[in-house]
Symmetry: C2
Subunit: 343 residues, 2 copies
């Protein structure tokens, strides 16, 4: 069976917590149509997987184990799709830093991997007739939004996701930006505080925007301050200081809570300036914002946007639109699948 015939493709999203896989039908045709026309019902249908799997990564995450599990997931998706043994393209989006285009994972702190030849191992497992692409997960998401999501009608896209950490991806004149060592657009590690007060970041350096606005660092800081005596309505909303998350803080800020507002007024502009500087450098037509923190913190988002608008180089603002990510939780699956279809 030809891979191009039935327009089937598999996307796999391998994160630190979950491993997901999906079989899509019609994605190639949808991508071709989306380049020129608005999405119609056929294109929206193509975004719904024909078959889908989700499992916890768990503690057994050695490369050989994960390769076998991903291989079994591919087999099972093809089986459910009624195309057992078909050589459909497979795209893997993975939380890690890739080196080159052959699927070498230079490092993945989430998976505990270093220098893993994932592409080669997967090719051995799947057989040489499955076209295979391995890509950083945020790059895959960005590519998905570029082809079929919030950036489908423009050539230059910058996508930034604020979740546990802060990640980003860029498409420049229709091409995914990877960088010299495969770690481009690490906007979370651009520095926004340079003085002695700069907060330490998980990367080992200080003053990164992730250390202020990344969900994990933000939550840890707020919980510590609230447990240490700071007063905020967020504690009442959450139940206890230890349960406070960014969404609770945003709800408190929306009600005028002083602690939450002060925090948002401190960190919102830091995110806004980091975004503005990246826009000044990449000059995208579309800035796409997403991620689990930003989707639950509309007040924080407003502070960031306000700072963004007064910090972008004016000529880069002329054709810029800021939009929310469009593909939601499936962006990684769709994007990985689309990368496997890309020429």
């Amino acid at each position: 069976m030809s891979a191009k015939g039935p327009d089937l493709v598999i996307g796999i999203d391998l994160g630190g917590t979950n491993m997901r896989g999906a079989l899509f039908r019609g994605l190639r045709a949808a991508a071709a149509k989306a380049a020129t026309d608005p999405l119609g019902p056929d294109e929206k249908k193509a975004l719904d997987p024909v078959a889908e799997r989700r499992e916890k990564v768990g503690s057994e995450r050695a490369p050989a184990t994960m390769v076998e599990r991903m291989g079994a997931m591919v087999d099972s998706l093809l089986e459910e799709g009624g195309v057992r043994g078909a050589h459909v393209p497979v795209g893997i989006g993975l939380a890690g830093m890739l080196r080159g285009q052959s699927g070498i994972v230079a490092q993945s702190p989430h998976l505990g991997w270093r220098n893993v030849s994932l592409g080669e191992m997967m090719r051995t497992r799947l057989g040489p007739l499955h076209p295979l692409v391995v890509e950083n997960d945020v790059n895959a998401i960005t590519w998905g939004e570029f082809v079929l999501g919030a950036g489908r009608d423009v050539p230059d896209v910058l996508a930034v996701y604020v979740g546990t950490g802060i990640g980003g991806g860029a498409v420049c004149d229709g091409r995914l930006l990877r960088g010299g060592t495969g770690c481009a657009v690490e906007i979370g590690h651009t520095k926004v505080v340079f003085d002695d007060s700069a907060r330490p970041c998980a990367c080992g350096l200080k003053g990164c925007v992730e250390a202020y606005v990344g969900g994990e660092d933000l939550q840890r800081r707020a919980r510590a301050e609230l447990a240490g005596g700071a007063r905020s309505a967020a504690v009442g909303i959450a139940g206890s200081p230890e349960a406070v998350n960014p969404g609770h803080l945003d709800a408190a800020a929306a009600e005028g809570d002083e602690y939450a507002l002060n925090l948002w007024q401190e960190i919102g502009p830091l995110l806004g300036v980091a975004l503005a500087n990246a826009v000044t450098l990449f000059n995208p037509n579309r800035l796409i914002l997403g991620g689990g923190v930003l989707s639950r913190t509309p007040v924080l988002r407003d502070y960031a946007i306000a700072a963004l608008e007064v910090a972008i180089n004016p000529p880069a603002q002329e054709d810029l639109a800021v939009e929310n990510a469009d593909l939601g939780d499936d962006a990684g699956l769709v994007g990985s699948a689309l990368l496997a279809l890309a020429p």
Copy 2:
């Protein structure tokens, strides 16, 4: 005569002060060789123009006037090169913001132009048989360094020039980055100070790194502070406060002058962090530094590099080399010419 036969090409560098033009021979062959081998004597010879012109832009700088003057310069270069009437490719690098790929100058504050169809006007003047490319001048310089200069052996290059202002260009995986509205990599207008102390920039916003380290702003500030009573050995070196330039300040800093050292300690790290954040985003293999200020301020450069090294995202530092621009004052001519030869 075929344009490809004799490997001739013309580069024009149109700035706010000077207009330069040069006829090159052998640049296409040199570029092809440089992609795989070190530069030999033939390649270095190709960088020396066969014929060259330079004139002041002067006050008569209306588009029609400049088109006629550039056309006459092309004619004269071909005449001197012994190939009158030959349809050699012409590349124009211009201090301004381009829109799209057809040579529309959206704006050039230096020339006082807005929405000028320079490409169309030049094609009319030269005739349709001259291949023609119009590009932003810093992009042209960056392309020159990428093909035949300090970035010739790597795919991802970021070039930053600190002169009167601060400009930048990027080549990502072998392609010049232009951006959605043709104003990518305006690193001079990334923000490095966000508080109320932020210095105003010529762009109309505040806190841009150019407002601190750009030669014009830096010189104005130092002259004002020294005329206002600040004491520095730079005044003795320069002769008077009104004559002080960044080179004098650097010479004073090298001798331990307190005023100059304090200034360099303030602004060097701002440049370093702006560079580091851009490296974290573009992840180049090569950061190329040039421009009239940096070439005369080795002490300031050291402060910037020291800050850069502790602010870059570590994975982006793995394969990064920082080098000085290689093509000197001719980079704009060479780069424009090379762009006219690019496929």
